[in-house]
């Protein structure tokens, strides 16, 4: 045992000396002031701040930058800029200018009309038409002058609001800076090497530079009646001219044309390979289409319902029958089966390529590291973006659509297969090896069966991703229900669009229910 005397918690005295020294070390300059301020914060039990920081109030964001409180720096800067913009608009912005300008133009017109009325009278014609016009103009001038006055009066109130806002912001800065700074001190105690402390000149300079870069331009842009055009939009044309020193093309057109040529060249060069890929995909799709559409529809319906029953139970079977009835009664049967064939072909190809890849990535960490960015790209790249190169390389129609679907749908099955493979306990693998298993036996008897639940989850995800994608491929000439929706969209046909939408929904739900039910049953075994 150590010799520490034990004191009851209620009798413990607060010892400030060490704490104060640590606060001084944290604050650097003005250490004593902050020790005192933090002391007050530590003592306080209410929510109202009890200390006031004059430097923080006066300097605002610059104080925060100097002290390295970057969160407060941005908060203070943005709030103060908002206040300054209001003050600027009120003080030297000219809100009535537009109205006055209009009034001046209208006065001119009124004078013109009066002149013409005079001329008409002199010529012995009826001047009443011009007089009426002149009168109307004069009234319009009056209205605009009133509006200008009102706007100018409003300017005063905007100025007042701006000033009030600034005052409030400054007070908040003064009262809450120490509270925020104290929190930073607590963080600094935990991680002194990564949390800013003290006052540093370079931070001060950075803060001033940022304030100078942000505040004046912003305030100018919002308060000036006609700010210079450069500030409203990026002058890309001018920059292009400067860089390329030619008027005929911009950076954009140059790069876009170059990419056009490259893609065309690649498409021509690899046309044999691309054509054979298309042919392969088409073969899979044709087989499935033949099975689903070529087979008499009652047979297909019965088979689907029975599969639903066997795989997922009677309730899903009844739902499936109802969904099929909806699709058939509305005349969507053939086109729905085309959608199912598209999804089926995409999923089949995803699984046959994805599972072996996943097994490889699960076994080789290096391969997985290499593939991970590609998988991320496949999943995050918006589908619309890679539809374009797919058109360039594979043309339009169903097979390219399936390829686009595969790109979108394959990552989950790869990822989850790899995850499942890595999750197989080493001890079981070791046991199999210890009993003399070959690598193939290890894979077939241990790794694959144990990874199977994860692989199945991946297949399910892939199916759902493919379903959502199969609608989008109608944009590149893919068939199925997506086409129905696209046409409805083009003609803003509400009824057909909704009916088609429900048909897709039912197809997706039926497939999802059946697959999930099947997996759940497999899991329970």
């Amino acid at each position: 045992m150590t010799d520490t005397t034990v004191t009851a918690a209620s009798q413990i005295e607060v010892d400030r000396a060490e704490l104060d020294a640590s606060i001084s070390r944290f604050a650097g300059s003005n250490g004593e002031y902050y020790a005192e301020a933090f002391h007050k914060i530590h003592e306080a039990t209410g929510v109202v701040p009890t200390s006031f920081n004059l430097a923080a109030m006066l300097l605002g964001p610059i104080w925060a930058a100097m002290r390295g409180v970057w969160g407060s720096f941005w908060g203070f800067l943005i709030l103060e800029v908002i206040a300054w913009v209001q003050i600027g608009r009120g003080a030297w912005g000219n809100p009535g200018a537009e109205f006055l300008e209009r009034a001046a133009r209208q006065t001119e017109r009124a004078a013109e009309f009066t002149e013409r009325a005079e001329a008409a009278r002199l010529a012995g014609e009826d001047p009443s038409r011009f007089e009426t016009l002149a009168g109307n103009m004069a009234r319009a001038v009056e209205r605009n002058q009133q509006a200008a006055e009102a706007a100018n009066a409003e300017a005063f109130s905007i100025l007042m609001i701006g000033l009030a806002l600034l005052l409030v912001i400054k007070l908040v800065e003064g009262f809450y800076s120490n509270v925020i700074y104290e929190k930073q001190y607590s963080r600094w105690r935990i991680d002194p090497s990564h949390v800013d402390s003290g006052v540093k000149t370079q931070r001060l300079i950075l803060g001033i530079l940022l304030v100078l870069a942000i505040a004046p331009l912003t305030v100018y842009k919002f308060t000036s009646a006609s700010p210079i055009e450069m500030l409203s939009g990026f002058p890309e044309r001018e920059v292009s001219q400067l860089v390329l020193s030619t008027d005929s093309q911009t950076i954009y057109t140059g790069v876009a044309n170059w990419m056009d040529r490259q893609i065309d060249a690649a498409a021509t060069a690899g046309s044999g390979a691309f054509d054979s890929i298309t042919a392969g995909v088409r073969a899979v799709l044709d087989t499935l289409t033949l099975a689903l559409i070529g087979t008499p529809w009652p047979v297909v319906m019965v088979v689907i319902c029975v599969v639903a029953w066997r795989a997922a139970g009677p309730r899903v079977a009844i739902f499936t029958a109802a969904a099929l009835a909806y699709v058939a009664l509305l005349g969507y049967w053939e086109i729905s089966m085309e959608t199912v064939a598209l999804v089926g072909a995409a999923v089949l190809i995803c699984v046959t390529i994805g599972i072996p890849l996943g097994i490889w990535f699960g076994k080789s960490a290096r391969a997985y590291r290499g593939a991970e960015p590609v998988l991320d790209l496949m999943q995050t790249l918006p589908a619309f973006v890679y539809l374009i190169p797919i058109i360039a390389f594979f043309g339009t129609g169903n097979p390219p659509g399936i390829l686009a679907t595969i790109i979108f749908g394959m990552p989950p099955v790869i990822r989850l297969t790899a995850l499942g493979m890595r999750g197989v306990p080493d001890s079981i693998k070791e046991a199999a090896v210890a009993f003399g298993a070959t690598r193939w036996q290890l894979l077939k008897d241990v790794e694959f069966p144990l990874a199977l639940p994860s692989i199945m989850a991946g297949v399910n995800q892939t199916i759902l991703m493919c379903l959502s994608m199969v609608v989008i491929i109608s944009l590149i000439g893919g068939g199925g229900l997506g086409k129905v929706i696209l046409e409805a969209l083009q003609y803003a046909a509400k009824g057909p669009g909704l009916l088609g939408g429900f048909a897709i929904l039912f197809c997706a739900m039926v497939i999802d229910r059946i697959v999930q039910g099947a997996f759940r049953r497999a899991d329970q075994k």
Partner: protein, 346 residues
């Protein structure tokens, strides 16, 4: 003595990047540097340092040590789950290091059975198919391997559980499945990697007894790893104690308890009950030391243990006379007996 079933000679295992390992090995051999120094200079971890022993057929050889002492690493050299950095390993007279992959697999499948601390049963296969797996790997027909599997399961008292999944069984039963699986291919050698560590104390005791009887009956050479000296003493014919990858002492349980090789072993042995370990011949005094009539004194054989001597001694004031082949050879007085219980303290 018969030929050794498992023979380990000067085996070293150093873990680390390949280049550093060979450098570290040379340094260790030439300069004799220690484990911490190897880690510091080469970034390599010494798993096993200069281990040598031979296990004759039919012996239960316990390897005892705390976690990180290299005992699991050492035993994995026997079926080459781990390749040694240096040294020679012989299984039934054959050098395992020079076997081709196919030959090695055949040895693993036929000659060596292994039981693991965490059972390592395949959760998707029935108990029967788990036990039959080593035979399945060898391509034995289904009817044959089911018959063998059912027989081995009966050896560990698991009849009636053949068609269950492992997760439906308790921990103790699962480990019995593990033992049955190791026995299924009727191997010459059993490797037991802390098989009972994860079980409740009571179940552990039961399984220890059951296992000891089973192995005695089947005459298997066994390498038994444990971190529990009690278990090692209960089960082992001989015990090797490991520390930091090195074998500190090899001996019978009695040897180790009565003659610990160093302070490390002594500390372990301290808490061990000597009642069943210390035999009469190791604490008896010559007959001459006791002057008095011994005719009515109780008699015990020189192989009887302290427990039996206490039973005899309780009913009389006289010392116990120790006999060998019917002759009186020594006496054990009460003070001697009490000191014996303490572990031979003088």
């Amino acid at each position: 003595m018969t030929e050794a079933a498992v023979k380990i000679e000067d085996v070293w295992k150093i873990f680390g990047p390949p280049g550093a390992v060979s450098e570290a090995m040379t340094a260790v051999k030439n300069e004799g540097i220690g484990k911490p120094e190897v880690l510091e200079r080469f970034g390599c971890v010494v798993g096993v340092a200069d281990a040598s022993f031979a296990v004759p057929r039919g012996e239960i050889f316990c390897i005892m040590g705390l976690s990180g002492s290299g005992k699991s690493t050492l035993v994995r050299h026997v079926n080459r789950l781990i390749e040694p950095t240096a040294g020679r390993i012989e299984i039934l007279g054959r050098d395992i290091a020079h076997m081709g992959e196919k030959e090695l697999r055949a040895v693993r499948a036929k000659q060596i059975g292994m039981v693991f601390q965490h059972m390592a049963l395949m959760p998707h296969r029935s108990v029967r198919d788990n036990v039959a797996y080593p035979l399945e790997i060898r391509g034995v027909s289904k009817s044959k391997r089911w018959a063998v599997s059912d027989h081995t399961l009966s050896l560990v008292d698991l009849q009636g559980y053949e068609d269950r999944l492992p997760k439906e069984l308790s921990g103790g039963m699962q480990q019995r499945v593990g033992i049955a699986r190791a026995l299924a291919s009727d191997p010459e050698i059993l490797l037991m990697d802390e098989p009972f560590s994860a079980l409740d104390p009571l179940i552990r005791l039961q399984l220890q007894d059951q296992f000891k009887a089973l192995v005695a009956q089947l005459q298997k050479t066994t390498l038994f790893i444990t971190h529990d000296l009690d278990e090692a003493i209960r089960i082992g014919h001989r015990i090797a104690i490991m520390k930091d990858g090195r074998i500190v002492q090899i001996g019978t349980p009695e040897d180790i308890v009565t003659n610990p090789a160093d302070d490390y072993v002594r500390e372990f042995v301290q808490g061990i009950s000597k009642l069943k370990l210390v035999k009469a011949h190791s604490i008896m005094e010559p007959l001459e030391k006791f002057n008095g009539a011994l005719d009515s004194a109780p008699r015990a054989s020189s192989e009887s243990d302290l427990d039996q001597l206490i039973d005899l001694s309780v009913g009389t004031d006289q010392p116990v006379v120790i006999t060998e082949d019917g002759r009186d050879v020594g006496v054990v007085t009460k003070p001697r007996l009490l000191r014996g219980i303490q572990g031979g303290k003088e």
